[in-house]
């Protein structure tokens, strides 16, 4: 089967009316998405990043059939989203982080039951799938609570189940961990990771949270001002853009801080030292080698460059 | 005092931004005014005077009532009730200003906007379409402005109290609907109160709802001399103080409960 998501030269123009004088309105064309192309393969987890207003939501809307493209081609699961919206809807699951898909004043279990009718899944399959998901996300005790009374973390878990009940092949998540506490975020990420591993569900994830990216995404798609400015593996991104890495060393007490030629001391706190080195000039192995040849150490670790900083730098370019 | 004028002014400006809704609203008020007017003209085709009021009185009253409808928010106003429900009221309570005065000032600012932009245009529309609409003379206009302003304040106090009650009953929508119904009926919006038999008419004219719409409407059509206008003002002031008082009692009870129980 071909890729679940194929985007070719996709563009979207909006006409925005603006106030010119006191009464007159002038029309301005805003290019939200400018001829982007990419593919998402089966079973991939792709992180879709970009500053606000870059065109992420617009792309997502075109992929799900909510928005008609101005030009270009988009094909999701072999279907043209705008033309075959309802058919496509059966095979994709969508989670909008900030807007709920659940029925607000009904208990969670009712929402799931209604979705069973909306998606017309076979009852036996629906029940076993639901039970499995409820168990995995540990939301059993909240099943009879009206959605509006759930905490944000509980609600997000409910939303995830809602999006996955009908066993979609593609899941699109729009900022799923926004506003969640650390424990909930971890849970959601773990769940998505496991699900992808076991069922091979393709996941497209837009997020501002780089913790999501680090944990889940093998591949990054970065969009800025309607253009894709990066499309490739996360590791490659890090390699290409991260110049500086840090070795954190715990020295044996009483030992002098060594001077290294391959790395530079940037900070020390008691027995702990932070050495920075440029990955073009040295590798972690050589730095550690030099370090251990000069001084006795108790423990060390190598810090990866912060994706956050890298992405920010990329936006600013 | 100046603070509250500022609050009212800001409220006025806030509503000025909802331009599209205003146009739609003007259209609605005009249509409804016209339907009411035609029905009453149908009545007057059969009979020249109803309880001493003629066709011109009736039609002018109708469009005046439509303007007043907007001033007193006859269809309901639950902004405060919603804030109470969500607990956002806490930020209001932290301000070093009187909560009730604040909200009434906001309401009055809103009413001022509504009377100018949603009350006046339908009245002018009615005047253009119907020959029977008579413009008020200077005296009637003066007293109308006075009583309409008081009606705005009165409505502010009224809705403040109603929203407070809604807090206790939790179902904001139903309570607001009920109290809106009272304005519509006893305020003479559905049919001018003078259609009622005299005994009921005299009784209903003393109600706060009549003080909001019916009486200022009667002032507008010039059916009341100075003494009668003063009586209207007196009644409005009476209800204003009563409702402000009731509102304050409800507010302090609710605040105490909020503070103790955490909302």
């Amino acid at each position: 089967m071909s890729c679940p998501v194929i985007v070719e030269n996709l563009s979207k123009l909006f006409t925005v009316a603006e106030k010119a004088g006191r009464v007159r309105r002038s029309k301005r064309e805003v290019v939200a998405v400018d001829g982007i192309s990419f593919e998402v393969g089966k079973g991939e987890i792709v992180g879709y990043l970009g500053p606000n207003g870059a065109g992420k939501s617009t792309t997502i809307k075109m992929l799900t059939g909510i928005l008609t493209p101005t030009s270009g081609r988009v094909e999701v699961l072999g279907l043209v989203p705008v033309k075959e919206r309802k058919k496509l809807a059966r095979h994709i699951g969508v989670v909008f982080g900030q807007r709920s898909q659940l029925w607000w004043d009904l208990p969670l279990s009712d929402s799931f039951e209604l979705l069973h009718h909306v998606y017309r899944t076979e009852l036996g399959r629906h029940v076993s799938r639901r039970d499995q998901l409820v168990d995995l996300l540990d939301i059993g005790p909240q099943m009879s609570t009206p959605v509006r009374q759930l905490s944000l973390g509980q609600r997000m878990r409910g939303e995830l189940i809602a999006a996955l009940l009908h066993e979609p092949e593609l899941v699109v998540l729009d900022e799923p961990t926004i506003g969640l506490d650390v424990v909930s975020k971890d849970r959601v990420r773990g769940f998505l990771h496991d699900m992808n591993n076991e069922s091979g569900t393709t996941i497209l994830l837009t997020t501002h949270d780089l913790g999501d990216v680090e944990r889940l995404c093998e591949r990054l798609l970065i969009i800025d001002e309607g253009h894709v400015i990066w499309d490739g593996a996360l590791e490659e991104f890090r390699d290409r853009h991260a110049q500086v890495r840090t070795v954190v060393v715990d020295l044996v007490p009483g030992v002098d801080i060594p001077e290294l030629s391959l790395a530079r001391l940037v900070r020390s706190d008691g027995d702990r030292c932070w050495f920075e080195f440029n990955r073009r000039q040295a590798t972690a192995a050589t730095v550690i080698g030099e370090l251990t040849s000069k001084v006795a150490i108790r423990d060390l670790s190598v810090d990866e460059a912060k994706i956050e900083d890298l992405v920010r730098a990329l936006y600013e370019e | 005092m100046r603070l509250y004028i500022e609050v009212a002014r800001k409220s006025f400006r806030r509503f000025a931004t909802y331009r599209g809704a205003v146009l739609g609203g003007v259209f609605t008020n005009t249509i409804f005014g016209m339907i009411h007017a035609y029905v009453l003209l149908g009545v007057h085709a059969e009979r020249e005077f109803v309880n001493g009021f003629d066709a011109s009185d009736a039609v002018t009253f109708v469009f005046g009532a439509q303007a007043l409808l907007m001033v007193v928010r006859a269809f309901g106003w639950d902004e405060l009730g919603q804030r109470l429900r969500t607990g956002d009221i806490a930020s209001d309570l932290q301000r070093p200003a009187d909560v009730q005065a604040w909200w009434i000032a906001q309401f009055v600012g809103m009413s001022a906007f509504y009377v100018i932009f949603r009350g006046l245009p339908p009245f002018i529309g009615g005047w253009l379409v119907f020959d029977e609409v008579s413009l008020p003379g200077p005296a009637a206009l003066f007293w109308f402005v006075v009583t309409a302003t008081l009606a705005a304040g009165l409505a502010g106090a009224y809705w403040f109290a109603v929203n407070m009650i809604a807090y206790w009953i939790i179902e904001v929508r139903g309570v607001v609907m009920a109290f809106s119904l009272m304005i519509m009926f006893f305020g003479g919006v559905i049919v001018p109160l003078w259609f009622l038999p005299d005994a009921l008419l005299d009784a209903f004219r003393l109600t706060p709802w009549a003080a909001m719409v019916q009486l200022p409407g009667e002032v507008l059509i010039g059916s009341r001399d100075v003494a009668a206008c003063l009586r209207v003002v007196g009644l409005q002031l009476f209800w204003l103080s009563a409702l402000v008082g009731a509102g304050r009692v409800l507010l302090s009870t609710a605040t105490r409960r909020l503070v103790v129980q955490g909302g």
């Binding site: 309802k86 809807a89 709920s100 004043d105 209604l114 009718h117 | 009545v43 049919v191």
Partner: protein
């Protein structure tokens, strides 16, 4: 049909939820009943002052009221949820309907179904019953059969009007109020004989917006009244056809609206 089944489930969920908060439900049901009753009280008060309006007696006007308001109330109870479209668009909650494999309108109507809205129907049905008993008519099978027929076509007409006026929200924001003037205004207008309204007003709001086909024209037949106001006698029987056309138009407008929404985003 699968759509009907889904609708039933959505409505069922709503009704169960409404029933859970029974006290609130009954309060709102009663409020809605009383609220609408005041309209009829106005009719009564009017007839206290005059014996007839435009040559229609109170029983005949009550018949207009009963048929017109029942049709409007039934439409409101079934399709009234479509009023939430402008709000949904504004709050951004319309999109999620499009992500599901079911027609958006069906979801909205099922989602916002409210049993309490039937309070209005009860009130007007009772008044209709009283009016039927009170009017001076030689009842034939045809005339009796016309009554349920006019209610059905009237409801369909109002349904179309509701859909069209709220579809405008796809093109223009802030149209909630203007939509109300057509829907609730239309309902109010149908309570009185069309003769009271000025000629241009009548042409715009009772013919262009086909309110006259809801109850006035069929009523002329039922009440054995002469066809007046420039209408032709055959029009008294045209309501079902007009209703059908109106529903088709409404469906098209709605579909156009969704297409426009999808091409311009929100």
């Amino acid at each position: 049909m699968a759509g009907a089944r889904l609708w039933r489930h959505l409505v069922g969920a709503r009704v169960r939820s409404e029933w859970q908060y029974r006290a609130s439900f009954f309060a709102l049901f009663t409020a809605s009943l009383l609220f609408s009753l005041t309209d009829f009280v106005a009719v009564v008060l009017v007839f206290e002052q005059v014996p007839s309006i435009a040559d229609w007696s109170i029983a005949e006007v009550a018949f207009l009221y009963g048929t017109g308001v029942t049709a409007a109330a039934l439409a409101d109870a079934t399709i009234g949820a479509v009023e939430s479209v402008p709000d949904r668009i504004r709050l951004g909650t319309f999109d999620r309907l499009l992500v599901r494999p079911a027609p958006a309108l069906l979801q909205i109507v099922g989602d916002d179904f409210a049993l309490r809205r039937f309070g209005k129907v009860l009130q007007s049905a009772v008044i209709l019953g009283v009016a039927i008993a009170a009017v001076d008519v030689e009842w034939t099978v045809a005339r009796a059969a016309m009554i349920p027929l006019m209610i059905i076509s009237g409801t369909s007409l109002f349904t179309s009007i509701w859909i069209v006026s709220n579809s405008v929200a796809f093109w223009f924001t802030d149209t909630r109020e203007a939509a109300n003037s057509v829907t609730y205004g239309g309902s109010y207008l149908s309570q009185y004989p069309l003769a009271v309204y000025g000629r241009w007003f009548r042409r715009l709001f009772a013919v262009a917006v086909p309110i006259s086909f809801v109850n006035y024209l069929p009523a002329l037949f039922v009440l054995q009244r002469p066809t007046d106001l420039g209408f032709a006698p055959w029009m008294r029987f045209a309501s079902p056809l007009v209703a059908l056309l109106a529903l088709i138009v409404a469906a098209q407008v709605w579909a156009l609206g969704i297409r426009h929404y999808r091409s311009t985003g929100s």
